[in-house]
């Protein structure tokens, strides 16, 4: 693979700091994509972490609003949400391109080596607004976009058609999300309980009826990747093998991604 995402306390569960994780990867010569969420820090801390990341040689930062604290393992916590992901993208861009903080004050030392990421979920409603929201993120300063996991290829194709018709694929790199699901239980949870995930019935039933769920799940994901590879406007793939990271090397090989350039 070319880079690894380090998530920021995803699902609002306490985990290793994503900045620390990104540094550890960097030390192993793996390119990190440092994820930063607006849930736990205000604009002061977030800007400070951007400076910290750049100083530590972390150059890809993906900005998200973050899962609400009520869904995690500290539901009694107070969320911050001082700013939203689009505002944070805009702040990061101003820091990089104009050399100013959110308050307009100049940075003492400018920096330029920051690749700004954001996310997009084509499967959430209202569908028509999702392309607008993507465009807003691009206008705010996103250089690359990682999408929600694609299971519904037809719906994603529809979305990409609109993206292309507005020329947005020329302004940003779009990495389509793909999730090989480890178990039936995970699939059930994702289909019925995770808002914004769209697993169509035919995919669901195919996996439900498979003799070997894990083998079939990887085949389905591989087929999805093959379709995405052919899709105009898709620049790359973001693989999220949740709790199943061990399969990634063989999975990449199976999908003809190896060797990497």
């Amino acid at each position: 693979m070319d880079a690894c995402n380090i998530t920021d306390n995803q699902t609002a569960v306490v985990r290793l700091s994503s900045l620390a994780g990104s540094v550890l990867l960097k030390q192993k010569n793996i390119e990190p994509i440092y994820q930063m969420s607006c849930r736990d820090r205000n604009r002061i801390a977030l800007q400070s972490d951007i400076l910290g990341a750049v100083a530590l040689g972390i150059n890809n930062i993906l900005f998200v609003t973050g899962d609400h604290q009520s869904v995690g393992n500290h539901p009694h916590a107070k969320g911050v949400f001082d700013i939203d992901s689009i505002q944070l993208v805009s702040i990061a861009k101003s820091m990089r391109d104009k050399g100013i903080f959110q308050n307009g004050e100049p940075l003492k030392k400018p920096f330029f080596n920051l690749f700004i990421g954001a996310v997009c979920n084509p499967f959430a409603t209202p569908y028509d607004y999702r392309v607008d929201r993507l465009e807003k993120k691009i206008n705010a300063g996103a250089d690359f976009i990682q999408t929600q996991s694609v299971f519904n290829i037809d719906h994603f194709q529809n979305f990409m058609d609109k993206v292309i018709s507005r020329g947005l694929d020329k302004k940003v790199f779009i990495l389509a999300g793909v999730t090989p699901m480890k178990s039936e239980k995970m699939m059930d949870r994702m289909k019925f309980h995770v808002p914004g995930v769209d697993i169509p019935d035919d995919v669901y039933n195919r996996l439900k009826n498979a003799d070997d769920f894990q083998a079939e799940s990887q085949i389905v994901s591989c087929e999805t990747i093959n379709s995405l590879k052919k899709m105009k406007g898709v620049h790359g793939i973001h693989i999220t093998a949740l709790f199943w990271e061990s399969i990634i090397p063989s999975f990449l090989e199976r999908c003809n991604f190896l060797p990497r350039p």
Binding site: T65, F81, A124, P126, E135, K136, A140
Partner: protein, 216 residues
């Protein structure tokens, strides 16, 4: 109005422990919420007496957050208040703290939890409305407030968990952003959906965090 609920009676008894009590109600919000009007004050008196607690008297202020009016009304019950060890206040937190200013030497007990600023939308049904952020932005959102009604206070559109008009955090609740988009579509004001709203200025919110006097 300010929405409040009465604390469980047992927890009020736990705070009182011993000594005599004077009960203070409020004729406005707390009365409308049925936690501090005359019927609730009388019910509280009855339950305290049944629990062998001496009640020296009661009053319903009009309303409890009106300091000058409170001074006038309290004149009629000076002795009853003097005789009480505890002032049990059945108003919102505003009333409780105004009464504390009038009786700094008395033990003040808040008999309610103050929940939110809202409206009674049906008999006994209250809806949370304003977040008291101090700088109103609803004019940008067709009268709908993402600061009050989006749990993530998003100002630039719905998050990726908005589904079929419902909030990802609790499917019982509508996504306010879905409502904003629908209303803008209806009013043909969709162009403004592409506006990038900058980070909110919380200065006015913070300005009112102290117990300062504000001349309005």
């Amino acid at each position: 109005m300010i929405i409040s609920e009465q604390k469980p009676f047992d927890s009020i008894i736990d705070i009182i422990q011993k000594g005599s009590v004077f009960i203070i109600g409020c004729s406005e919000c707390a009365a409308l919420c049925h936690v501090g009007g005359e019927p609730e004050v009388l019910e509280m008196e009855k339950k305290l007496i049944e629990s062998n607690i001496n009640v020296t008297g009661w009053i319903v202020l009009d309303p409890a957050c009106h300091l000058l009016n409170n001074k006038r009304l309290f004149k009629s019950v000076n002795k009853e208040i003097d005789d009480a060890d505890h002032l049990l206040v059945l108003s919102c937190g505003n009333g409780v703290q105004v009464i504390e200013q009038l009786y700094p030497d008395k033990h003040i007990i808040s008999g309610t939890n103050t929940l939110f600023v809202g409206a009674e939308i049906n008999r006994g049904i209250f809806e949370r409305e304003c977040n008291l952020c101090g700088s109103c932005i609803v004019d940008d959102f067709e009268g709908l407030c993402p600061i009050s009604h989006c749990p993530k206070q998003l100002m630039n559109g719905p998050c990726g968990g908005s589904m079929d008009g419902k909030c990802e955090i609790n499917r019982d609740f509508n996504c306010i952003w879905d409502e904003i988009i629908n209303k803008k579509n209806k009013l043909k004001k969709t162009d403004s959906l592409m506006n990038l709203f900058p980070p909110k200025d919380w200065t006015s919110y913070k300005k009112y965090q102290w117990r300062d006097h504000h001349k309005l």
